[in-house]
């Protein structure tokens, strides 16, 4: 059933996707790494809670092996500019900006944090494996929720 749903969604996106090009919904850039196992809908609602929890773990307790970190968000969701380098949140099309602008929610993170990944991080991501079919199914589950 899951596979059928996934197939249907793909067909729907492939055929009808064009109709949404001029829609009012934000165009959210695709990430390069594997999809969140929790699903995108969950992340859309809870990303700040997860980040806030893990930032305190790292900052206060020194736990640098947390599951969620802003460092990884900006790396995996990096959007490349015309010069093939990641763009900052000040430029249109940045992952965080695309949605936050639409929802009219101010992002304070980047007053202190860099909205572009480290050079080392970009290289690391290039080596990371592409999303597996399970990851894609999880992602699509999130989309259809």
């Amino acid at each position: 059933m899951k596979r059928l749903m996934a197939f249907l969604v793909i067909v729907f996106v492939a055929t009808g996707g064009g109709a949404f090009a001029g829609s009012l919904y934000p165009e959210i850039p695709k990430a390069v790494g594997a999809a969140h196992p929790e699903g995108s809908a969950f992340m859309r609602i809870n990303h700040m809670k997860l980040l806030r929890h893990d930032r305190d773990e790292t900052m206060r307790l020194g736990n640098r092996d947390t599951q969620y970190s802003l460092k990884e968000c900006v790396a995996c969701h990096a959007v490349m500019g015309p010069d093939a380098l990641p763009i900052s949140v000040k430029e249109e099309g940045h992952f965080c900006r695309s949605c936050h602008e639409y929802a009219a929610v101010k992002v304070d993170c980047f007053q202190c944090h860099n909205s572009k990944p480290d050079a080392g991080f970009t290289a690391l991501l290039a080596q990371s494996p592409a999303a597996s079919s399970d990851d894609i199914a999880a992602y699509l589950d999130g989309v259809t929720q």
């Binding site: 900052m59 206060r60 307790l61 020194g62 736990n63 092996d65 202190c112």
Partner: protein, 252 residues
């Protein structure tokens, strides 16, 4: 509110994170503190790197520190992404070199000056939001998520170790976030220390061949720094204030 990490191995099984704990189906460990008061430990915080058994510190040999050398300052600036932009009034300054001349004897000394990572940090005492804090392993930090930029800590610090960020900052290092309206200071390169490294200033000091800075765990009697402190006379700056700084100086 989280329970503080428990060091009792019977209560907190070592190397077990929350997920393993639930997977194992182990019973919840509990300690009776007083009749009717029970402390329950759910897997604990075994991942925490800030170990309360450690106290990170530094020993600086002033005789080995060269007057014309600025390597530690440059290394810190490169590592943590702060710059001196020619506005000494407002520029960030996590570490600086100080030249001293004894008025009577004329002896000249040069030393690096930064956050002294006090055991009793006045900056933590005065912070109204709890942003200024000391980690379990003795590193004093600013949590910029809660810092409101009141600068009480800058007033309280007897070492002038903290600076306020006056301008917008861009392209920060990923491991050293910093932004306008918050206070900052030496972090003892906590991102390196957590991964078993040494601070950038110490590394650069040995790279120049001076070797004036030593970093290590003051609580470990076998560490180089503890042995050096045991065998040679050293002082903490402003010992009269009884702050017990983690940074100590010899031959000053």
């Amino acid at each position: 509110m989280k329970l503080p990490a428990l060091n009792n191995e019977a209560v907190r099984p070592a190397e077990m994170n929350r997920r393993d704990f639930f997977k194992s189906g182990a019973a919840v460990a509990s300690v009776t503190l007083a009749p009717g008061v029970t402390l329950m430990a759910f897997g604990g915080e075994a991942n925490a790197t800030a170990d309360a058994d450690k106290r990170w510190g530094m020993l600086i040999d002033v005789n080995k520190c060269a007057t014309d050398c600025n390597a530690c300052v440059t290394a810190c600036s490169t590592e943590n992404g702060w710059k001196m932009d020619g506005n000494p009034e407002t520029d960030a300054q996590w570490i600086r070199k100080i030249d001293l001349t004894h008025k009577e004897t004329g002896r000249e000394a040069s030393l690096p000056m930064m956050c002294q990572h006090c055991e009793e940090p006045p900056c933590v005492d005065v912070c109204p939001t709890g942003a200024s804090f000391k980690r379990a392993d003795g590193i004093v930090l600013v949590d910029k998520h809660t810092c409101i930029g009141c600068r009480y800590c800058m007033m309280a610090c007897p070492f002038k170790a903290r600076s306020f960020v006056h301008e917008d900052v861009e392209d920060q290092a990923a491991h050293a976030p910093r932004g306008k309206g918050t206070v900052e200071s030496c972090t003892l390169c906590v991102h390196r220390v957590d991964e078993g490294g040494v601070p950038a200033c110490v590394e650069s000091c040995s790279a120049t061949g001076h070797g004036a800075m030593m970093f290590g765990d003051l609580n470990d009697p076998a560490s180089d720094i503890a042995l050096a402190l045991k065998n040679y006379a050293s002082i903490g700056l402003r010992d009269d204030l009884r702050l017990n700084p983690g940074v100590r100086y010899t031959n000053l």
